[in-house]
């Protein structure tokens, strides 16, 4: 047991926790002001709901050692998950430190999906859908990729900090939800002006800050790979933000604040699976390309196809996550991390095939599973708010609360 590693992982868990309220402000700034509390609440209630789900059975379903679909209930209620290390996951920190670090990932992943159906989902349906989603979609995929006995882990697919489990998974679910729930009333393939751009910047800043815990913390030790992850994370985010600003400058004449932070977040998404396996120059390439891909997805593909992924959960997390997973298969190298693998550019094309299998399995399962859960919840409670409620806004209709006063 190492006190340094334990301290580092606990601080990293706290950093990742902060990403969920950070995401709430990132998304909250983008919506109309009648809906900001609706968005903040949808993100923040997951800190509470999944925070409890995780210790009761989510951690067990994800990480209890088992071959097959998921981990089962052997560790339900944290039975056997104590303060001694569990060497197969992390040999130098208490098992519960690993568990609580993973809890924060389970919380933020469903919160990412919120961006797809913002401004039009009933709160009751949201809570039910996301608890089912956390249990039947997130937990199995986490088991496949990270759990002992998980088939993608055994296959050798690389996912350092959650590119498939978190971002591709959430991004795919986001696209399915956006298609099923339909467009916001009055949406005309043009984004509504965000009601508070400074909130978007505040949220993005908290995300960037928290992402050091997400990626460097995924080394599960205060060691070389953690430092590598920290450095490439910062570099990819920086490059992606810069490239997005330049793209806007070229295409629209001026670079924007909203665009720059969107680029930085896309860079953070893309470097996530690669953070522990690539060195710093590939991180620059990963960051540059992700902004180009996401910029096209958000500004060209989405309006042309006409779906209303309101806050671009798929456009940024889905697309950025898929690029990151594939880029890991291109640029991973044993020089950067001896415990990793070489990618295509280091003479091992098989790694790219493994990455493609992981991406395909995640997209297929998350897409189909989200479809089924959405339809089930829609049948039981009805997912979408009424037309009148949508006009008045989620803050007043779902929470009887207003964010801003007009008169004191």
């Amino acid at each position: 047991m190492s006190s340094g590693d334990t301290g580092f992982v606990l601080v990293s868990a706290a950093l990742v926790l902060l990403m969920t309220p950070g995401l709430a402000f990132f998304y909250g700034g983008m919506v109309r002001r009648k809906n900001i509390l609706g968005v903040l609440m949808q993100c923040c209630i997951l800190l509470c709901a999944v925070g409890v789900q995780w210790v009761l059975f989510g951690y067990s379903l994800s990480f209890a050692p088992a071959e097959g679909f998921w981990g089962g209930l052997a560790w339900a209620g944290l039975a056997g998950v104590g303060l001694e290390p569990y060497a197969d996951y992390a040999a130098t920190i208490p098992h519960q430190a690993f568990m609580v670090f993973q809890a924060m990932f389970a919380v933020i992943t469903p919160a990412l999906v919120v961006g797809a159906f913002a401004e039009r989902m009933k709160f009751s349906a949201f809570l039910l859908l996301m608890l089912l989603w956390a249990t039947f979609i997130y937990d199995p995929i986490a088991h496949w990729v990270w759990g002992l006995g998980g088939w993608l882990r055994d296959l050798g697919a690389l996912d350092f900090a959650g590119g498939t489990v978190v971002h591709i998974n959430a991004g795919t679910a986001a696209l399915v939800c956006a298609l099923l729930i339909g467009r916001r009333r009055g949406y005309d393939n043009k984004p509504n002006p965000p009601h508070n751009v400074p909130f978007i910047v505040l949220g993005a800043a908290l995300l960037w800050f928290g992402w050091f815990g997400f990626n460097a913390g995924s080394a599960l030790a205060a060691n070389g790979p953690a430092v590598n992850a920290f450095v490439v994370t910062n570099t990819a985010a920086a490059m992606a933000g810069l490239v997005w600003a330049i793209l806007e400058w070229l295409v629209n004449g001026k670079p924007t604040m909203f665009g720059t932070v969107t680029g930085a977040v896309a860079g953070l998404v893309a470097i996530t699976p690669a953070a522990g396996f690539v060195s710093v120059l590939p991180a620059i390439a990963i960051g540059a390309v992700v902004s180009l891909l996401c910029f096209l997805a958000v500004t060209v593909v989405k309006p042309r196809l006409g779906y209303d992924d309101s806050l671009d959960a798929f456009g940024v997390h889905g697309i950025g996550g898929i690029w990151g997973a594939l880029a890991t298969g291109l640029w991973a190298s044993k020089a950067a991390n001896p415990a990793g693998a070489d990618g295509l550019f280091f003479g091992n094309p098989g790694q790219l095939v493994n990455q493609l299998i992981a991406v395909g399995a995640t997209v297929a399962y998350s897409g189909a599973g989200t479809f089924v859960l959405y339809k089930a919840v829609d049948f039981v409670v009805g997912v979408r708010v009424s037309e009148k409620e949508e006009h008045v806004g989620l803050d007043l209709t779902q929470h009887h609360e207003g964010a801003y006063t007009v008169l004191e």
């Binding site: 009648k34 009333r185 009055g186 009148k388 006009h391 008045v392 007043l396 209709t397 009887h400 609360e401 207003g402 007009v406 008169l407």
Partner: protein, 113 residues
């Protein structure tokens, strides 16, 4: 000259603007206001304490027009703002004594257009 004041539902603003532009009424002032007519406000609850009778958000339009534009303006607002529910709003038409364009000092009919 008349001053047309209309109180409408916020979500109908875009539709009203589109109808006004169709009839070449291109000049308007918009403000956000609070109020209610026959509708009741939505109850709000803060930390478990309920407040009732709160006011609803509305949009107030002010449009100064020459007499021959009064009917098209009223028609446009009704068409754009009507949903058939209580709370659709009202239109008030007031006589307008004087109108001055600040930039040029023009008055009356010229100044409005």
């Amino acid at each position: 000259m008349k001053l047309v004041i209309a109180i409408i539902q916020p979500h109908r603003l875009e539709a009203v603007k589109a109808e006004l532009y169709k009839r070449e009424v291109n000049l308007l002032t918009v403000s956000e206001v609070l109020g209610h007519g026959r509708q009741k406000g939505i109850a709000e609850v803060y930390r478990g304490v309920k407040e009732t009778g709160n006011l609803l958000k509305k949009i107030r339009l002010e449009i100064a027009v020459n007499d021959n534009f009064v009917e098209p303006t009223v028609e446009a607002i009704c068409k754009g703002a009507r949903t058939g529910e209580t709370g659709d709003g009202k239109i008030f038409i007031l006589p307008l004594e004087r109108c001055v364009r600040i930039r040029t000092g023009e008055e009356g009919r010229e100044a409005i257009g």
